[in-house]
Amino acid sequence: MPAHVPNAGLTRRDLLKRTGGLAALAAFTAACGGNTGRPSSGGDDGGGAKATLSQWYHQYGETGTQQAATKYAKAYTDANVTIAWTPGDYAAKLSSGLLSNKGPDVFESQLNIGMVKSNQVVALDDIIADVKDDFQPGDLATNTVDGKVYGIRMIVDPQVIFYRKSLLDKAGIKPPETIDDLISAAKELTTNKVKGIFVGNDGGLALGGPALWSSGGDRLTEDHKPGFTDARAAQAFGKLHELYASKSVLLGAPTDWTDPGAINQGLTAMQWIGMWAVPGMQKAFGDDLGVIPFPALDAQGKPAVYSGGWTQFVSAKSANVDAAKKFVKWLWIDKEDFQEDWSLNYGFHIPPRKSLAAKASKLQSGVAAETVKLTADYGHTDDPAWTPKMNTAFNDMLTNVIKKGADPAAEITKAEKTVNDELSRLFG
């Protein structure tokens, strides 16, 4: 009735797409000073005076993350850095903020070419130049448009399938190696209490990319053409429907696939989830935990791991672009102890710097080590030319195929049209 302003929701699928984090209550300390999300003072053109920078985060799920972010900001002496920690709809808040003059100076997000075309972010080639070789090529590519690097990877979040070893042993099955194996394993693991696999309450939209990769396709080809239109792609999407229709998929769980709640509560034997959740799952199951990549479509295909994560950007609207760049360089390139802390002490993430990843002892044993290896072998990152509009069309296609059992080829044609329209808008 009197709502002039919509009551938007607490959860947001889009945000989940590439999140990193772990099952725990988000941290917030009212007392830790400097929580004003945005400086009141203007620029530092006068020189001398310290600049004030506003750094925006979405709300991570891991306990301690907000204190950590605040600690980093406080430790920086060349500028006053304030943290804006955002529960709820980070995408909406960020897009409003970036359009106004009260947005962040420094923020985390994922790059898409639209942000570059509309001059929302500045190139960071100068601050990354010295250490460029220390980043994985994929993590650079996902932040590069027209040869310029626009973001510094903060964390890498591989998404894979974790499973309960004991349940597979009991059913006498081996870890699946093809999608057909996966479907039959899910069926065999399903009892009246436990479902075979959990791939999200939406029926498995998160599997769209991995299924496509496992068939040998990609969302976009290197020369910016739709890469999801051949018969093998259609076959892979059809398999996702087969999985969904097998009645062995957990649906309607209170927590979504990004949360280990479903597997921890014993509702499912396998779950598609990110490495961030490993500490939480190990607490519940100890060694009774195995990991596999998304399996290959068939003998011709290859397994796939989605290598998501978060990246730091500098807003082009910042009044202190140089100071902001300096801060980003300090935190995400120079301060290795903080980067290590951020990646390893809350949830598990792979540090984007190869040199740090090599030293990360917590990732050198058990399922974490296996996940890191799978990521190196089969990891796929996002193409920044893949815009959110294309992604919506892609997800609509998946929903129609997976849930409604629509003909994959027909649905592909529909999505292809939207993607082509976008591509011709962007690349002529």
Binding site: P2, P6, A30, T36, R38, A92, L99, S100, Q265
Partner: protein
Amino acid sequence: MSATERTSGTPQPIGFSRSPLGVVGMVGRWIALFVAVVLFLLPFYLIVRNALSTEADITAPDWTLFPKDLQWGNISELFNDTQVPMARAMYNSAVVGVLGTAGQLLLASMAGYGLARIPYRHADKIFYAIVATLMIPAAVTFIPSFIVVSSLGWVSTLRGLIIPTLFSGFAAFLFRQYFLGFPKELEEAARVDGAGYFGVFWRIVVPNSLPFFAALAAITFIGNWNSFLWPLVIGQDSSSWTVQVAMSTFVTAQTINIHELFMAVAVSILPLVLIFAFLQRYLIQGVTQSGIKD
């Protein structure tokens, strides 16, 4: 909304209730009423049950009607949670709710009165321009609204939370309809004594319309208390979080802290439930009055 008939003042049992439809009808109606009460209260039961449960109780395979050990500690857990400024958020919501409601009623009642009573050539056009704003979905003018507010420099301020929400076309519309039905004789008596519009409005009309004001105040307060997206986007400073924003911290992209969330829900609706317990009588009276006509 306006009635076509003068009010009778006293509530009367009406329609099929006047003459008994026999015992069967009677029993049937009581059963219907009872079922409706149970269904309407069910969600409140769930709030209380979950708020006083442990995580394990809530996710247990077998339904527990009520947890064996009531977790009253969840209350102190919520308020002592140094990570979520719940008390501060309650205070912020109360301030925003009270000031926002007062301001909105003041502006809308004056506008409604002017439109209903003061002759002006273009009054109709202005009225339609106000009603038209109800049809534009706010979700999509959201970004321009935010840009307007941020260029005024009101981001992260109380002003930014309150002022843009004060101009409710819906409230102005209701007030106009209400004042159209306000007994003219009362006003005319005062005008004979030499009072202007301003005097008549404040000395005669407002004091005689308190139930209607109370009814709208309740509805407006709920709206302010419950709004989420605007406070989230405007309140970049976490000390300016409202209850709804603070509550949302229990649902992150990665996890949900169910028992603390439900305790927060319980705490957040308690003030409204209390307000209703007091105001519901006026609410009916106010709505009834909104249609008084000559």
